[in-house]
Every structure is written in structure tokens, then in C-alpha cells.
Amino acid sequence: MKTADQTLEEILGLAATHFKVPREKLSADDDFFKTLNIDSLQALDLLTRLENHFKVELPDYELQGVSDFRTLAGRIQSRL
């Protein structure tokens, strides 16, 4: 079982790779729409990547009202 910190770290790593942003530019409380310069469709795309990585199903509604990496990590952690 991964710890919450590990989950968060892996999300940041995946987001950096997928959207080609240096990892050191991302931090847990960043608004990912802004930092990654993505729209809501691209955020859904990120969710799909995270599903494949963590091997869990993340319904679209898990993104409702979520815009920072830490909250997203919490939502994923609760499904692991």
C-alpha cells in the first residue's frame, strides 16, 4: 500500500512527464489547471493516465471542484 506522500509524488511525476513541465516547477498545492496550462478536457486526460498508473477507476466526478494536486491525491488514495 502506498503512503499518501508516495501517491502525491507519483502524481506530480506523471503530470510533469505527460504535460512536459519540469518536475521541480510543480508543487502539491499548485492549481494544476494553471501550472500545467490545461483545460478541463486535458484534466480528464490526466485522470485517465492516473487510472492506468494506479490501476483504479476514477469517475469524472472525482475531479468536481478539485484543482490542486494534494486534493486530487487524497481522492485517489481513498480508492487504492
Binding site: 489547471f33 494553471k34 483545460d39 480528464l44 469524472d60 471542484g65 484543482s67
Partner: protein, 570 residues
């Protein structure tokens, strides 16, 4: 289809639809690749009537209001049907709003019943304002076993035996209250009658008919006027089928086109643009000879089809492209925001017409629509049957404010006679949009007169509604505007919000202040954020009651400063 002239209310028309096509499929609901629900019109009735009876037993009376906050799914339509059957008023609320905003609109609408999905209800329960909600009966769909529902009932268990009593309404009675926006400051609840919907449905289906066997893919939120009409009322009164997807991820949306052989779909321009990008990327991956063949076939299609779509021919010429959309798609319907003509042309050249139009919640669904006779990428079409449009005070180019008169206009804004009087004058709805008619009677739009923006995703944003997030910003005063309101652009697209800031005497715009601004901005959903700021060096003009005179301030700023020089991006 049913003859809608024969009906006085939506409940009666829908009830007859369920009787007329008992064995046709009316609803399919899929979650990713899994089909969850498939209902015939007869099945729909079986599910809806026990819910209707339970609502009546819970003292839900004619004219009572019931709000629905759900993503697109079968229970949305079943619940709406039950409400209309009782003679009630449907209040469709946007599931994408924050829990606080939903609670505010619930309070404003005075809804007695709320029907809501569990995950949205859970978010509402966590809001501090939750305790104040005054909804009598709450039905929660899809709640996990053992979940705390804070006194709500499970939708699935809320059923009673026995026939409910059908309550008929008159055409002038209220059918829906639809919020066109105004969550923070001034809620704008458009009161729409049964007449509005019956007339709108008649006009739209006259140009774009549905019939049994048509499958409409419902992606735009059902609370949105377009989907409520073409993803519920339109298909139902024609015996057609609505397909709901519980995810909006592009890969599953693409699959759904093929799996369910979709006939029509309505999309916001942002998604149409996204589809265009995807197709262009696919085309670019083709080997040079294949790309040459594709381009040749597109050119041939353009030549043979001309200005009027011929879908059969296009399917033969470009089979792979059409197969990717399921092979039976007749048109992509788009609205709610500005669409680039080049995107519409791209799809038209492939033999997939994009039908665009122009409308606003205050006018039911649509005022104009392209009838594809011929296809025009540069206009929003012609007025629908029964719609009169006028251009007020046209300038030298014929451009002025669009005003509309039609049976499809709202009656008034709920509890806001002042705003109603400003918006509907002598029976004409002042749209606040700038347009002109070209020689063939098509309407062209040229931006907005009013202080608002519409995002590519079709969201209306009123600057005054988002100012509350900046309450307490340590400056003398501030005011948020649509940039085009200060600097009229007479064009669509590239809209942005800007904040005019007046600093205290001797105050400087520091990094800390900028950080504060950014932090508050982040609290807003991405589509509502302020894109830039400008520092203004005079006190804001105010009314006697100390409200900012927005129009005067905008004129002062616009008259003295150029947009490019004044605005600093955030």
C-alpha cells in the same frame, strides 16, 4: 411526432409519447464501455410512475418547485417527467457549480424538492451553509450502502404503489425556472412557461426532425437549455432515443458514436474544436500517398456536395471518417458560445454539417439556426419559425443590439421585476448582443454590448458575480469587467475578464498584493478567473447608494487607455 399544437403542457405531451411508442427504446445509459440501463418508453413509464406517486404522497403539489442537480443520466429525465406529471415546476441547476452556489440557487428558487446525485449531495453537506437549506424532500441517487444522507431519501427506494394523479397545466403556467447565471451577486432565474417549450420544440423539430430510430448522444449538461430541448423534449415527442454517457472522456465519447450509431449530437464549440484537432492529428499521421488520396476525396466531396449537405454521398466518398463517427451521424449541433467558421468549414468539407445557432436562456433555447440551405460558416443562421428579430439603433455598418420577440421568451426573472423591466421592453427581449442581418436574412454576431463573457465551453460569466471572491482585497477599490465591455471589439472570441484596481494613496502594487490576487483567483473555477488587471488612478464613479457606476467607469477607462497598454496579464 406528436402534434404539439394539441397540448397545453409538457406533462401531457410526454405522457402521450410514452403511450405512443411503448416498444421503442427511449434511453440508453452507458458508463465507459459498460451499458448500465436501456429503457423502452414503456419501461420508462414503469419506473417513473411509482416515483411520481411517492412525490404526491410526500405532498408535492401542483406549482411546487423541484430542483434537479445531476450529471446527464436516465434518472434526470425520469425525475423531470415525474415532476411535470405532478404539475410541478422543474428547476434544473448546473452540476458544475460549487456546492455553495448550488445552495444559494436552491434557496433563491424556493424549491420544495431536490433530486441530486450522491457525490454532489456529499459536497453540499460539507458546505457551512448546508444547515440553512430549507428543502423539504431530498432524493439522492446512487448513494453507497450505509452512506450518511443527512435526512435525504434514496431515489431508488422512493417509490409508492398506486396510480398517481395526472395534473394538467395551461400553456401560460410555469414549466421551468432556469438560471442563466448570477450565482454570486444577482441570481437570474428565467421563468419559462409550457408554451415556451412547446413552441420551441415545434420550431426546432420543423427544421431538424427526430423520429423513432434516431439516437441522440447527450453530452451537454441536461440543465443547459440546449440539451433539455434536443436531449429530452425533442426526442421524446418524436419517439427517438437519448444516449447518456457517464463520462466525458474523449476516448469513451468516440466509442459511443460507433457503438450506438449516433444520429445527432450537440456539443459546445470547445469540444467541436477538440474533435477537429484530433482528426487533423490523425490525418497528419497518414503516409504521404494516403494523405494525398484523403485530400483528393475531400476536394471531390466539396465539389459534388456544394453548399447543401449530402450525407449519403459524403459517406461513400469518405467512409473511414464517417465510420469513426458511427456511420449514421447526420449533424453536429453546436451553440452556447462562439464557434470559429474554419472549424465549421472543416467538418462540412468532410460531409459532417455543423449546425450552429444563437440563443439565450431568456429566449427558451434558440432564436436562430442554420438550416443548411445552404451551409454558411459565417453566420448563426436565420430566425426560427415564430421568432421576430430586430437590430436596434444600427450603426453605419448595420450593426446594433439584437432584440427578439417570440412566444419562446421567458416571462420574467424570478423575484426581480427591476431586471425584468430592463431586459424585456414592450415585449422585446434586449439580448445585449450586437448583430446585423446580411442580404440573405442570416444573422451575424459581432460581440456584446453587455458586461459579460461567454467561454468557449458555453459558460456565461457576469463579472459582478465573481467579485465576492476578492472581498477584502487590500486596495481602495476594485471592479471586474469583461475586457470587451471596456474596449468594444465588435468581434467574437478571445474574451477575458479584467480587474480595474484603484490603490490607496501612496500604495504600491507589490508582489505580495499580486500573490493575494492570484490566491483568490485560484479559488474560482478555471473558466471564471480574472485574466489581467489594470491600475486606475481616479476614484470610481458611484451612485448615491455607493454602487459603482460600471458603465461610466468602463467608458472612462476605455476612453483614456488602450487595452494592450493598460492590462497586465495575471
Amino acid at each position: 411526432m406528436l402534434d404539439l399544437n394539441a397540448y397545453t403542457c409538457l406533462g401531457a405531451a410526454l405522457r402521450d409519447a410514452l403511450e405512443r411508442w411503448p416498444n421503442e427504446t427511449c434511453l440508453i445509459e452507458a458508463d465507459r464501455e459498460r451499458e448500465k440501463t436501456r429503457l423502452t418508453y414503456s419501461d420508462f413509464k414503469e419506473v417513473a410512475l411509482p416515483l411520481t406517486r411517492a412525490l404526491q404522497d410526500a405532498y408535492f403539489a401542483p406549482e411546487d418547485r423541484a430542483a434537479i442537480i445531476m450529471t446527464n443520466q436516465s434518472k434526470w429525465l425520469i425525475s423531470a417527467y415525474a415532476i411535470f406529471y405532478c404539475g410541478g415546476v422543474v428547476v434544473p441547476l448546473d452540476y458544475k457549480l460549487t456546492a455553495l452556489e448550488q445552495l444559494q440557487l436552491l434557496a433563491h428558487s424556493k424549491a420544495k424538492v431536490l433530486i441530486v446525485e450522491y457525490y454532489l449531495w456529499r459536497a453540499m453537506m460539507q458546505a457551512p451553509e448546508f444547515k440553512k437549506h430549507a428543502v423539504k424532500t431530498v432524493l439522492v441517487t446512487e448513494a453507497p450502502p450505509g452512506a450518511d444522507l443527512a435526512g435525504a431519501f434514496r431515489w431508488e427506494d422512493f417509490r409508492r404503489k398506486g396510480d398517481p394523479a395526472f395534473v394538467s397545466r395551461n400553456r401560460e403556467d410555469v414549466a421551468c425556472i432556469v438560471y442563466s447565471s448570477g450565482t454570486g451577486g444577482r441570481p437570474k432565474g428565467c421563468v419559462l412557461t409550457h408554451e415556451v417549450y412547446l413552441e420551441q420544440c415545434k420550431a426546432l423539430t420543423a427544421w431538424y426532425p427526430f423520429w423513432p430510430g434516431v439516437r441522440y448522444l447527450s453530452i451537454l449538461p441536461t440543465n443547459h437549455a440546449i440539451d433539455f430541448m434536443v436531449g429530452f423534449l425533442g426526442p421524446f415527442v418524436c419517439g427517438a432515443c437519448v444516449v447518456h454517457l457517464r463520462t466525458l472522456r474523449p476516448e469513451f465519447v468516440r466509442d459511443a458514436f460507433v457503438r450506438y450509431k449516433i444520429t445527432y449530437v450537440a456539443l459546445v464549440p470547445m469540444i467541436v474544436k477538440n474533435l477537429e484537432k484530433g482528426l487533423r492529428a490523425k490525418f497528419a499521421e497518414l503516409s504521404a500517398p494516403k494523405r494525398w488520396v484523403l485530400n483528393a476525396m475531400i476536394a471531390l466531396n466539396k465539389l459534388l456536395v456544394g453548399g447543401r449537405p449530402n450525407v449519403e454521398l459524403s459517406r461513400k466518398l469518405l467512409p473511414q471518417v464517417h465510420a469513426a463517427f458511427g456511420g449514421e451521424l447526420l449533424a453536429l449541433i453546436t451553440g452556447g458560445a462562439f464557434i470559429e467558421p474554419s472549424t465549421m468549414q472543416f467538418f462540412f468539407d468532410l460531409g459532417i454539417p455543423v449546425v450552429n445557432g444563437y440563443g439565450l436562456t431568456e429566449a427558451g433555447t434558440a432564436l436562430t439556426l442554420n438550416d443548411l440551405k445552404p451551409f454558411r460558416a459565417d453566420t448563426v443562421g436565420k430566425p426560427l419559425p415564430g421568432v421576430e428579430l430586430r437590430i436596434l439603433n444600427p450603426d453605419g455598418d448595420g450593426i446594433g443590439e439584437v432584440a427578439a420577440r417570440s412566444k419562446t421568451l421567458m416571462s420574467y426573472y424570478l423575484d426581480d421585476p427591476e431586471l425584468t423591466a430592463e431586459t424585456i421592453v414592450d415585449g422585446w427581449l434586449l439580448t445585449g448582443d450586437l448583430g446585423r442581418f446580411e442580404s440573405h436574412g442570416h444573422l451575424q454576431l459581432f460581440g456584446r454590448k453587455k458586461n459579460m463573457i461567454v467561454t468557449a465551453g458555453g459558460k456565461n460569466i457576469y463579472p459582478e458575480d465573481i467579485e465576492t471572491v476578492f472581498d477584502g482585497l487590500p486596495v481602495k477599490e476594485y471592479c471586474v469587467f469583461a475586457a470587451n465591455y471596456i474596449w468594444p471589439a465588435k468581434e467574437l472570441g478571445s474574451e477575458a475578464l479584467v480587474m480595474a484596481i484603484r490603490l490607496e494613496q501612496n500604495q504600491e502594487f507589490t508582489e505580495a498584493l499580486k500573490e493575494d490576487l492570484l490566491a483568490r483567483n485560484r479559488k474560482l473555477p478555471d473558466f471564471k478567473r480574472v485574466g489581467g488587471y489594470l491600475i486606475w488612478d481616479k476614484d470610481f464613479p458611484r451612485t448615491a447608494s455607493m454602487k459603482i457606476k460600471r458603465n461610466e467607469l468602463a467608458a472612462q477607462i476605455g476612453g483614456n487607455r488602450e487595452r494592450a497598454q493598460a492590462v497586465v496579464s495575471l
